[in-house]
Amino acid sequence: MVGQFAADLNLLAARNQMAVSLGFHIILACLGIGFPLITLIAHWRGLRTGDSHYLELARRWAKTMAVLFAVGAVSGTILSFEMGILWPGLMGPFGDVIGLPFTLEGVSFFMEAIFIGIYLYGWKRLPARVHFLSLFPIVLAGIAGSFFILSVNSWMNAPAGFAIVNGDVVDVDPWAAMFNDATAVQYLHMLLAAYMVSGFLVAGVYAYAWLRGRRDRHHYLGFLIPFVVAALAAPVQIVVGDTAARRLIDAQPAKFAAMELITEGGSNVPLTVGGLLIDSEVVGAIEIPGLASLIGTRSIDGELPGLDQISQDELPPVNIVHWSFQIMVGLGTLLLLLSLYFGFHWWRRRALPERRAFWWASSGAGLAAVVAMEAGWITTEVGRQPWIVWQLVRTEDAVTAANGVVWSLLAIVVVYLGLTAATIVALRRISAGMRTGGEVATPYGPPPEVER
């Protein structure tokens, strides 16, 4: 009995350690993908127009990126350790199947790390053209790297590129594994999320400044560039998200049924907004007749899977999946409305909106995008349970047999709390330094004057 308790505790600790380290890192990963693009746009406009405000923005954003890339790199490294430390039952049988995308992702990391070093340190002593061009590999590496890593998570949902014969994994085809059925849609969904998180977070800083009366050209551009990036991504994201969800109807019905909290499968399924599943009964929900079928299959008569069609031992934690899904969709929709409002206003007036409500909403849009993104990850990861590899390997069978994972979980939680606090403090100091107009040194960069 003690043995079982220890094993359960280990599994719980391993799950939560992975969740904490992934949930933290993914925010930095979004910024690693989106922030260089935003900076590239500003830098490019600066060179084209000769307006130094653009280049000022780019330089200040570069200093912020320096901190974010550092924290992102270290929090990402630990994830590759944890794959092996925590989940031998995944990496042992399937490490060779999913190794290729990890390798190619590593190439992306190399390119990002090399060229961010060149961009951050090249302001004074590189030809301007070379300096500007160094941004392109970073942006491209972000686009490529996210493809590769998302293909791995997609594979966990839609395993491909191998066969199981007598319990052995054979006929491994790493390319088929990488280009599995879920890769395209999961990748696009995450890429757009990265641009939305980055765009709304950066724009939010300037939106808040706008509210506090800082409305010079610098803040105007500082808001406009990232906000437009995010606002362009938002409507596309709704379409991609819809496609991603509908794929699940046939591919992962248990996940879909949990997301939509559908207790009885069939046609003419109502949309269940909110509510909780308690003792197999939906409590406290708002039901809109037929809407789930309509959204999911474009027809009220469309068939949707229900929790009643899933065996008990293959059910994910339904309430968590349902609420995280709807939080994501709700926030995503609000962000879409914000983007559409801005777009409409810009189309009519070619100016930034005046309404304080818009600026308050824009100030919070970054946080909303982050919450939506995390909620999305919770939906897909928790929704895949009890499987770590869909219908092949259970999470409980993949976990390490070592005792004491609860201690590494504790260490990670404490360290990451400190890391979060320190990152926020550092970012605030950077922006404070920028406000006072002083020339501040790049984090871990050379001091302003070379000491002789």
Partner: protein, 353 residues
């Protein structure tokens, strides 16, 4: 040359690259730790920071490369290593986090006290992380990692003479490499006092590394007889001899103040030790437990990894060479502002505004 051996060779190249580039990085942190108080250590710390700044992130991607190739080509041995040795791995990972973030945050600390805390974090972690990696290497090399999910002892697998030797050697090797490189950096920055400062330290750490390597043979004979036997093979002896020769050359080059040439000599000395370990352990992935041929992934996987390696080489190697060239010609960082630089453009348009 079989496909499996080729992949093992690639992995060993990756370990070598990490040892040299990441190791120099860690070593910089170690000298930062040992630089003394805020006043005494100010100049060495500034030099180290300037040297590491543009390259530290790139230097540590080699680690990811090694891990990924390991778990792709030898998945079962990999998870055996990761689960049995989860404690030193986790500590190394935490060290990496402390190191990178300490380095990044130190600049933004608004009091000297806080700068010292972050600095200590960065520097202390720079000393600890290579120790844990060395301990892991020692564990694998001495056959203390059985196959399976956390089958080995979680403590004695990495707390033993060979692991201790591996850990200490890793730390000293990192310090040695960094000191050699920093002499050259000080030359480039025209700081003769720091040239002498790091020259002395490179000699001390170089001699220490040599003594450890020499004495380590006896430790291995007693604690890791299987590996020791492998080391006495013709290949093993050749590599040990190469290391000794390169190491002695580097010391001579340092003594005669040829800092540029000392760098490759030091790097070869370190790499020869690593390849000696590889030769000694060959043909085992896990000493006496899992051979390369038996536990390697299937051919399609290995071919995919070779294609990926080729692709990586085409993209990454020229880029890395360019990055290092830029640092060595002082084209990155501070200095006289080029007339056609971005900074110059900004100042011009400010003046016009």
């Amino acid at each position: 040359m079989t496909l499996a051996n080729a992949i093992a060779g690639i992995i060993w190249l990756g370990i070598s690259a990490y040892a040299v580039f990441g190791g120099a990085d860690f070593g910089g942190g170690i000298w930062d730790l040992l630089a003394g108080g805020p006043d005494l250590g100010r100049r060495p710390r500034a030099l180290i920071e300037r040297a590491i700044g543009p390259v530290w992130e790139a230097n540590h991607v080699w680690l990811i490369f090694v891990l990924v190739y390991l778990w792709t080509a030898f998945p079962e041995p990999f998870v055996s290593i990761a689960t049995t040795l989860w404690i030193p791995f986790t500590l190394a990972a935490l060290g990496i986090i402390f190191r990178g973030s300490g380095f990044a945050f130190r600049k933004w600390a608004n009091t000297v006290e806080r700068q010292r805390v972050y600095g200590a974090m960065f520097a202390g972690a720079s000393a600890m992380t290579p120790f844990f990696f060395g301990a892991v290497a020692g564990a694998v090399a001495s056959g203390r990692v059985p196959l399976g999910n956390a089958v080995g002892d979680p403590l004695t697998s990495w707390i033993n003479p060979t692991s201790l030797l591996g850990g200490v050697m890793a730390v000293v090797a990192c310090a040695y490499l960094a000191a050699v490189l920093l002499t050259r950096e000080a030359v480039l920055d025209d700081m003769p006092d720091l040239v002498e400062y790091f020259r002395v330290r490179s000699l001390i750490s170089g001699v220490l590394a040599g003594l450890l390597a020499g004495g380590g043979i006896f430790v291995l004979a007693a604690d890791a007889p299987s590996l020791f036997n492998g080391l006495t093979s013709p290949r093993g002896v050749a590599l040990i001899a190469t290391s000794a020769l390169a190491g002695l050359s580097s010391l001579w080059l340092l003594l005669t103040r040829r800092y540029l040439a000392a760098r490759p000599a030091a790097a070869v000395a370190i790499m020869a030790v690593l390849w000696g370990w590889g030769a000694g352990q060959y043909p085992w992935v896990l000493e006496d437990t899992a051979s390369i041929e038996d536990y390697v992934a299937s051919d399609p996987v290995l071919w995919a990894m070779i294609v990926a390696f080729g692709f990586a080489t085409l993209l990454v190697v020229p880029s890395l060479i360019w990055l290092f060239r830029l640092t060595q010609t002082r084209s990155l960082g501070d200095g006289e502002i080029r007339k056609d630089s971005t900074e110059a453009l900004m100042r011009d348009s400010h003046e016009q505004a």
